[in-house]
Amino acid sequence: MSLAFEPVATCQGEAAGLIWREDLVLFCAVDESRILSFNPSSGAVGEFRRYTSRTSALSDGPDGHLYGAQSGSRRIVRFNADGSTTPLLSRLRGRIHNHPRDLTIDSSARIWFSDPHSPIPAPGPQVHGRLEHASVLRLRPLANRSLVLERMTSDTTNPAAVQIAPDSSRLYVTDNDPSPSGRRELRSYPIAEDGSLGSPIVLHTFGADARGPHRGGSGMCLGAAGELYLCAGSIEAGPGPMIYVFSAEGQLVTTNSLPETPVSCCIAPGSIYVTTLGGRLLRASLV
């Protein structure tokens, strides 16, 4: 695999979650609390939404709405077509959850999201303490269209990227324990008929060397054949910034180096886009 990436857009601070939607790439300018758009036909960069409270990831729902992980305000939101933004249920057993980082939505409209702790506190009065755990949580719609919030993992310490397999049979999760001896893994959890998660298979483990632990996976997307693209690595340690590609069956197929530390990725017709910690949107042709 030899993808040649070029920068096509920039933002201040970190560029994070992104999505291909209505012929545009939408990507999160986290530190600007904006969602920006890139039009590949014209090359134009625009503002899709402002005042997004550190929204760090985006996902389409089966209802056609755009959903976001609003990390700064500790909630999942729905960005409505009329410009309004609806907050979804944010209390787990009465307590407000942590800072959602990434989200993915399955065909049953269940919203799965990583809920790590964050070094950046939510703005305003610090009334709500953080949860003792950092888990993958799920918003599940009930028959009356209300939502229930559920804890789905008990083996994660710092979940980052989440991705549902195309047939909703597996949940991919990256868990990046920040301690020097901690594990940084890509896991594949089977989803049972009742919606619960089974024991995961570890698809990849990130190592460490004399320079330090290798940076684990921070973002994922799916290709047309169900293959999984994973953004990981940095210039600080290990083999460097990379995209890892896993087959739908979970085998590591190939890797591709990147010019800078990646955050997340998405597939668009004929292209792959990658966001970076340095605030750039990169593009490479897949043709």
Partner: protein
């Protein structure tokens, strides 16, 4: 006697040997919106995150007035004794009519949805001012049904009796508490992010001018510029580090009243208006003072 510090001789007329902090209510998640209703001889306040307006009557106890409240925040009484509310989560200014119905007074400015009204005052002729930061759009647990911010600034708005909404102040970074001087010639507005109070001259028609910095808060303990009230002598009481900072009409600190927890607001009350009711995140306290506050609402006819 309640604790004080940085006290000058002027504080001795306010905090006396009878000034003992007494707990009125506890178990709140975010107390705010205090106001004394002289007709009912009752104290009202809100629990923002608890989404409730409460009332407490001395010797009787506390009861729920409204739940849910749309995450109500600052409250006051107008000249007819109606409860006028800064609708923090509902993104509106509203009041409770004598028949109990809720009437929305304002929710838009020039066709655009406002931010999140934080605190509110009504002048004796009915002209209303409220601070409109965007806090309820981003603070966890305080949100309403729409958390999208549409305005690019945090104004102070004026609402005239005919329903006209005007941007009265445009250049405050995070306006929060506000109150009139005793003669209503000045409107004090504090700024949480800049930790100071500004003083604006109020014209008869309601326009504001000036806006010089009147006082900058002191101390590095927990607490921010939030609620604010004035006493009969024109002393300004503002929440801040330590609890409540009392400032004379010239802008000099008279001293700090130390309050447990994180103080959010206060209101004068009781028949002689010499009791200061204080809200914190978790509690309501009351404190007898030597100087009465400015009455709120219609005068009580014996």
């Amino acid at each position: 006697m309640v604790g004080t510090d940085r006290a000058t001789s002027g504080l001795a007329r306010i905090v006396t040997s009878d000034s003992n902090l007494e707990m009125v209510a506890h178990g709140l998640t975010f107390g705010e919106g205090p106001v004394w209703n002289a007709r009912e001889r009752a104290f009202y306040w809100v629990d923002i995150i608890g989404d409730t307006i409460w009332r407490w009557i001395p010797g009787v106890g506390q009861q729920v007035v409204m739940r849910p409240s749309g995450k109500a925040n600052g409250m006051t009484l107008d000249g007819q004794g109606r409860l006028v509310v800064a609708g923090w989560g509902s993104r509106s200014v509203w009041r409770i009519e004598p028949d109990g119905l809720v009437r929305t007074l304002a929710s838009e400015y020039r066709g655009v949805r406002i931010n999140t009204p934080n605190d509110i005052v009504v002048r004796s002729d009915g002209v209303t001012y409220w601070t409109d930061p965007s806090g309820a759009l981003f603070i966890p647990g305080m949100e309403g049904p729409d958390v999208q911010r549409y305005l690019d600034n945090h104004p102070v708005f004026r609402l005239d009796p005919d329903g006209t909404v005007t941007e009265a102040i445009a250049d405050v970074s995070y306006p929060n508490g506000l109150c009139f001087s005793p003669d209503q010639s000045l409107l004090y507005v504090n700024d949480t992010w800049r930790a100071h109070i500004r003083a604006f001259k109020v014209a008869p028609a309601g326009e504001l001018s000036g806006g010089e910095v009147f006082y900058s808060l002191v101390g590095d303990e927990p607490g921010v510029a939030d609620g604010m009230k004035v006493d009969r002598d024109g002393n300004v009481y503002v929440t801040g580090p330590g609890g409540i900072q009392v400032v004379d009409p010239a802008g000099a600190l008279l001293g700090r009243i130390l309050v447990p927890g994180h103080t959010t607001n206060m209101a004068f009350g009781d028949d002689d208006w010499r009791t200061l009711y204080i809200t914190t995140y978790e509690c309501v306290y009351r404190l007898r003072l030597g100087i009465p506050g400015i009455p709120v609402g219609p005068p009580v006819v014996p």
